[in-house]
């Protein structure tokens, strides 16, 4: 197992993921969804987690909440190991960690009224007084920019995608959590609505003093909200560092490839002929050594023999690459 001392250790981590391994079995085959990932999220920061579909970023989010149990590794939330918790203890802890999903319409029960949907976490948490519940729901709906008098009695289908995402955010906030895992919260939304929701998440973070793990495949979206960004590829962490620095000077060839592939809304920027070769291999039989080597222009025999460890390539920026684009190899 790798040594976590290689990792950027933060002074006040709210979340620490240590050597997390998550695997699924499908048809007798093992899918290596998350392989030995370690990262930390500091109190009050937003950590962006990017990667293409199937890279394990959503699985990682779920494993943090113990919705998917890890094969090995630890998840420390505020110093307590969630992987060792069961039953009531885990349920109590989950009040402090909430989740927002990609498809806001699918994540609301179509037969329940908005008021009841948003109050449900309070019921589960044992807030018995209906007046108090009503007041909390009223406050949180107002906070996310909805008019409580107009929405509480209505059903999810009466709302647009953007409004449903506001309702999901209200439901996540109603218990006053410390940590929110946002799993592709704006991917299903149109451009004009996406900006509204991103701004809302930023407002809510400031107002409620939240810490966010923001999972998305869109680098520009991630950069817009994140203090630091972690890049995953095929179950492994490639690179982690302060957002601005990581986008200006990526160290891992995969990060560079992702940045290059973003279409720029400027006709003067002629899109470079894509440097990407091939497609991500299957997570059932990931390549040996560095998992990106089959698509990497800098790969050599060492990359197939030896798994690269995360090493510091610049202040606060860590990359798992034998031939990083910055910092001496």
């Amino acid at each position: 197992m790798h040594d976590t001392r290689q990792q950027p250790l933060l002074r006040d981590p709210l979340l620490t993921v240590e050597n997390l391994v998550v695997e699924y079995t499908v048809g007798g085959k093992t899918i290596h969804a998350v392989s030995d990932v370690s990262l930390q999220v500091a109190r009050g920061e937003t950590l962006g987690l990017v990667g293409e579909s199937g890279c394990g970023k959503s699985t990682l989010g779920r494993a943090v909440l113990q919705l998917r149990r890890a094969v090995s590794g630890r998840v420390l939330f505020d110093g307590q190991d969630l992987t060792a918790m069961q039953g009531d203890a885990l349920r109590r802890m989950r009040r402090r960690v909430q989740l927002i999903f990609q498809d806001p319409i699918a994540s609301l029960n179509p037969r329940r009224r908005i008021g009841d949907i948003v109050a449900e976490p309070l019921v589960i948490a044992g807030v018995k007084d209906p007046k108090q519940r009503e007041q909390l729901v009223f406050d949180v709906l107002t906070a996310v920019g909805l008019d409580p008098d107009l929405v509480t009695g209505r059903l999810p289908h009466e709302f647009s995608g953007g409004q449903c995402q506001r309702i999901c955010i209200a439901r996540a906030l109603v218990l006053n959590p410390e940590f929110i895992i946002c799993d592709e919260p704006v991917s299903a939304l149109d451009v004009s609505i996406r900006a509204q929701i991103l701004n809302l998440l930023e407002d809510m973070k400031a107002r409620f003093g939240l810490t966010l793990l923001f999972i998305a495949h869109d680098l520009a979206v991630v950069k817009a909200v994140s203090d630091r960004v972690a890049v995953m590829y095929l179950g492994r962490l490639c690179e982690v560092g302060p957002s601005e620095q990581l986008f200006a000077r990526p160290a891992h060839p995969y990060t560079a490839l992702l940045i290059e592939a973003i279409p720029v809304p400027d006709p003067d920027v002629r899109p470079a002929e894509s440097v990407a070769v091939g497609e991500p291999p299957s997570p059932i039989a990931p390549p040996s050594g560095c998992r990106f080597r089959t698509r990497c222009p800098r790969a050599d025999p060492r990359c197939s023999d030896e798994v690269p460890e995360l090493r510091e390539v610049a202040a606060g920026q860590f990359a798992a690459c034998h031939h990083p684009l910055i910092g001496a190899a």
Binding site: Q163, V191, A224, P265
Partner: protein, 331 residues
């Protein structure tokens, strides 16, 4: 436009009956595409861009009512008899859809589907058809094309399936390819590969293309002309460089400003567009963007602005209060 006009959409409107009343999906759209040119159609979901492409292809739902003319290569597709239309579609008028899994037949091999097209339109059979299929798959960047011919769509990744769909679309050397969100279902590194592939094949074949997307970033570097749609209408139309440099329609400006930029500092608040697109079953009296527009005045809520000519050539916009030149891009 220096190239001869290949496709001319004239006053096209599409009405769909719904339980909540008539839905005008496309409202009086005029567009032209020159031979070998690329037109980008940009808009958010529900703006009518897909319905417009289906109106061009004459693939509208049965209940839909279409009016106007779609002149393609000298013929009006709206009045063309079904047999000749069928011969045209797939041959000189091809299409690539967003989801390759739904456009490919899941129970037929890749080879069968490719060869079927070649038989139908080019009367190629047997060995020549197979040889041509292998060439086509190789041209769209599919490794080991001979083996792929025997495979079924589910055995390929999303990116590979889209390459197959493109190979089928290109198989009869179409004059016009309509690509409807061809990369929306794909990952960003694969998206770049597919867009490059389309651009390369287009140049090589001198084929015209309509690229439909919700992403202004996708059209910026890859089209000659852009039409921006909102609530079923074209609200701005311009050569691509002019659109990005001197946009006149506030919606275009707002749409561009709302995209997170990769070179912006983290935590920069995004200039969001308030509200949401109008309900297409409840038409708005004035400009359909007026409820969300920061420049709207009394007149905007009363009268519908028509497309008018800008000072720059081939540039049109539908707005009473256009953005003053050179003010837009900085937003």
């Amino acid at each position: 436009m220096t190239e001869p006009v290949l496709l001319s959409v004239e006053g096209v409107a599409v009405d769909l009956p719904t339980p909540r009343g008539n839905l005008r999906a496309v409202d009086q759209v005029d567009l032209k595409v020159g031979a070998g040119q690329t037109l980008g159609i940009v808009g958010e979901s529900g703006c009518g861009k897909t319905m417009l492409s289906r109106a061009i292809l004459q693939l509208l739902p049965k209940k839909a009512k279409l009016s106007g003319r779609v002149m393609f290569d000298g013929q009006d597709l709206v009045t063309l008899d079904p047999e000749r239309l069928r011969k045209l579609r797939g041959r000189s008028l091809a299409v690539v859809f967003q989801d390759p899994m739904t456009s490919l037949n899941p129970v037929l091999t890749i080879g069968t589907q490719l060869i079927e097209t070649l038989q139908e339109h080019l009367e190629l059979d047997g060995l020549p058809a197979k040889k041509r299929s292998v060439e086509l798959l190789a041209a769209v960047g599919i490794p080991a094309p001979e083996q792929r011919l025997m495979q079924y769509p589910h055995q390929l990744s999303g990116g590979m399936r889209q390459r197959v769909a493109i190979a089928i679309a290109l198989s009869c050397e179409p004059k016009l390819l309509i690509a409807d969100e061809p990369t929306t279902a794909l990952d960003v590194t694969i998206q770049a590969q597919i867009l490059d592939l389309l651009a390369r094949e287009q140049r090589r074949r001198h084929m015209a293309m309509i690229l439909i997307t919700h992403d202004l970033g996708v059209v910026a570097g890859r089209t000659d002309e852009v039409a921006v749609m909102y609530a079923g209408r074209v609200v701005e139309r311009a050569p691509t460089p002019a659109l990005f440099k001197k946009m006149r329609m506030p919606y275009t400006e707002a749409l561009l400003a709302a995209i997170p930029k990769i070179d912006a500092a983290p935590h920069t608040p995004l200039p969001a567009i308030s509200g949401r697109p109008p309900d297409p079953t409840r038409p708005i009296q004035g400009c359909s963007f007026s409820p969300r527009c920061r420049y709207a005045t009394g007149r905007c809520y009363q009268d519908k602005p028509l497309l008018i000519q800008a000072e720059t050539p081939d540039h049109q916009y539908a707005c009473f209060h256009p953005i003053k030149a050179a003010a837009g891009v900085s937003a």
